[in-house]
Symmetry: C2
Subunit: 365 residues, 2 copies
């Protein structure tokens, strides 16, 4: 049915009406006092969600833009970067750092597995000369639906002394991420996930320790520049014309988030994930990540039943039931499919998706 | 009056209802076939507007992002860059190139003046060893309301052999810019101007000659990468999650632009500019750029009458008449004000603005 599609992919995610209507308003002047008042509020709300006392920068870009922002403001060519890779998105850190000219060492874990903290600890313990300056990692690996034990990993990195650079694109706003308490140095996220607005904004917060690396960075990015953004946060503005429409929408979704409360948001996502995992198993399907402890609260990846292909499942779900789920990525393309349950999603949506999936599988049998 | 503000700044500019309503729709999946069909159309329309056979990349960023895209994909540290500076935005090229580590030489012209083609020619003629690899310039300098003779300047640069890198942020979609015919190598623009949608997208096209510089570029940007974008254009997609809402809105405004026709768009802007210039002079005001030949078709800068301050004029226009005009920038702050007349603007808007300005000046006398 036209205009009836419901996205259950890991982004873009559904957007509440309140935010959509805000997007339909005439754009405000980005240097007006009315807009500054909105920026001030949104900057405060970002600190609340990131659980940090540090400034959170707003970039008009995709999440990948904020990843490049982190690398290009901190890492110099030749710097040693350790990348913890558990899938497509955690691998992206390594690619960006390599393109920047860094000396990148990857530790690869099987897709579907989380980073083993003892492996990380062993590697960092070996680094007695403290050659490793940065460790990149992901909180929630969207390509596989695996959540790393970020608290444990950040602590190990902190103990070594390297700077941790964390992709929280599908975790911030869906599961607990305590930047300051866990000692995370750089944390990035993107708008089209837990923030419940369309894609087009990215966020980055940076610890005082990481800030020193920025001060020693040669040829940092101009557009994503940390210094220019820090100055702008203090003035309730942005260095360049931001996407005003999305920021106005974000003010609306932050109001909704604060009303719901952080703990309720996290427990809702936990419940949605456990409903999804149980429902899929009840349908006789095998989860891609069988260990509940590392299964993501934001997205669940699942194998198709034998004899039914992933493209057929996705096509039928879209055509018959107006539900869009995601394919696997890279080597998992057409091997698994992924159901997003983050952001503006309620239990009703999970019931609906599981019901539609049940009907789809019956049809395709 | 609340929700009644009308922006006459050089961006964000007014957005047609059709585009606003498109923005209020649920975001589409960026890897769906429906969205690919939209991308295909928008990529074609961009070539039409840029008047080029080259691919035009879409970046989810501000216009400044596309400026950094150009520099970071083409210029290596140590490369000699000649920057033609006539105001705040043309100066930005020099800043970005310097941050990239380039050897930047600036030729400064007085604010309010255009680049003198003979000065450029002399400088390039001196460069017998062809040390100058890139020349950065602006078509339409938004900070002063001056339009360079881009056709003449591009021809001089082409004759020398350097690569021209042009800011067309407030010119593409408002005045003729013939990328291929004029021999422009790199042309960038931004969404919140002639494109008639809110800020958040930027555009870049690159000639075959400039592409060779990209192929020799060390450590190009990952997020803004030319290679990744070229591959994506061929597949009717983008490398990373784009701002789908703005792209859907852009499809709508392109439909409107094609209906109006390029020549009509250009002559409408020429008419709006000449109405504005004549109207301001009739009010006894002195134009910042007195020469009609270099006065911008997109924005007009004007001195306040003696005894009345720019802040008072802007405040009264906003408070009493819900019209927002721009202040001067940097050394011209509070010295001049600027009236934008680009994008979704008709003669009615100019009549209204001039009438409100007349009443404002009477009130403040």
């Amino acid at each position: 049915m036209k205009d009836k599609q419901f996205l259950m992919i890991p982004g873009p995610t559904p957007v509440p009406e309140r935010a959509l209507l805000a997007m339909a308003k005439h754009p405000m002047g980005h240097r007006s006092s009315e807009f500054s008042a909105i920026m001030k509020q949104v900057y405060q709300d970002l600190k609340w969600l990131f659980q940090t006392e540090e400034d959170v920068f707003i970039y008009t870009s995709s999440g990948t833009g904020a990843m490049e922002a982190a690398i290009s403001n901190l890492v110099n060519p030749g710097d040693k970067v350790l990348s913890l890779v558990i899938g497509n998105f955690s691998e992206r850190w390594a690619k960006i750092a390599k393109m920047r000219g860094a000396d990148v060492e990857k530790i690869n874990f099987d897709w579907g597995q989380a980073v083993d903290p003892t492996v990380l600890k062993q590697r960092l313990d070996q680094d007695v000369n403290k050659e490793i300056k940065f460790v990149t990692l992901i909180h929630n690996e969207t390509s596989t639906g695996v959540t790393n034990d970020l608290q444990a990993l950040a602590a190990i990195i902190k103990e070594h002394g390297a700077i941790s650079i964390v992709d929280g694109v599908t975790s911030v706003g869906a599961l607990p991420v305590k930047m300051d308490e866990w000692g995370i140095d750089v944390l990035i996220s993107g708008s089209q996930k837990g923030f419940m607005i369309p894609p087009g904004l990215a966020f980055l917060a940076c610890s005082k320790k990481a800030w020193k690396a920025y001060e020693n960075c040669q040829n940092p990015s101009f557009y994503f520049n940390f210094g220019a953004n820090k100055k702008s946060v203090a003035e309730d503005t942005t260095p360049y014309t931001p996407n005003v429409s999305l920021i106005v929408a974000l003010k609306e979704t932050f109001a909704m988030m604060k009303e719901e409360g952080l703990e309720n948001i996290y427990s809702r996502h936990a419940k949605l994930a456990s409903m999804t995992r149980k429902g899929l198993k009840d349908l006789g399907l095998k989860l891609f990540v069988e260990d509940d402890n590392i299964g993501s609260k934001a997205i669940t990846a699942v194998w198709p039943p034998e004899g039914i292909s992933v493209p057929d499942i996705r096509k039928t779900l879209t055509k018959e039931y107006d539900i869009v789920v995601a394919n696997g990525q890279d080597k998992l393309k057409d091997k698994i499919f992924r159901i997003g349950h983050l952001g503006f999603v309620s239990e009703r949506d999970i019931i609906m998706a599981l019901g539609a999936l049940e009907a789809t599988l019956k049809k395709l049998k």
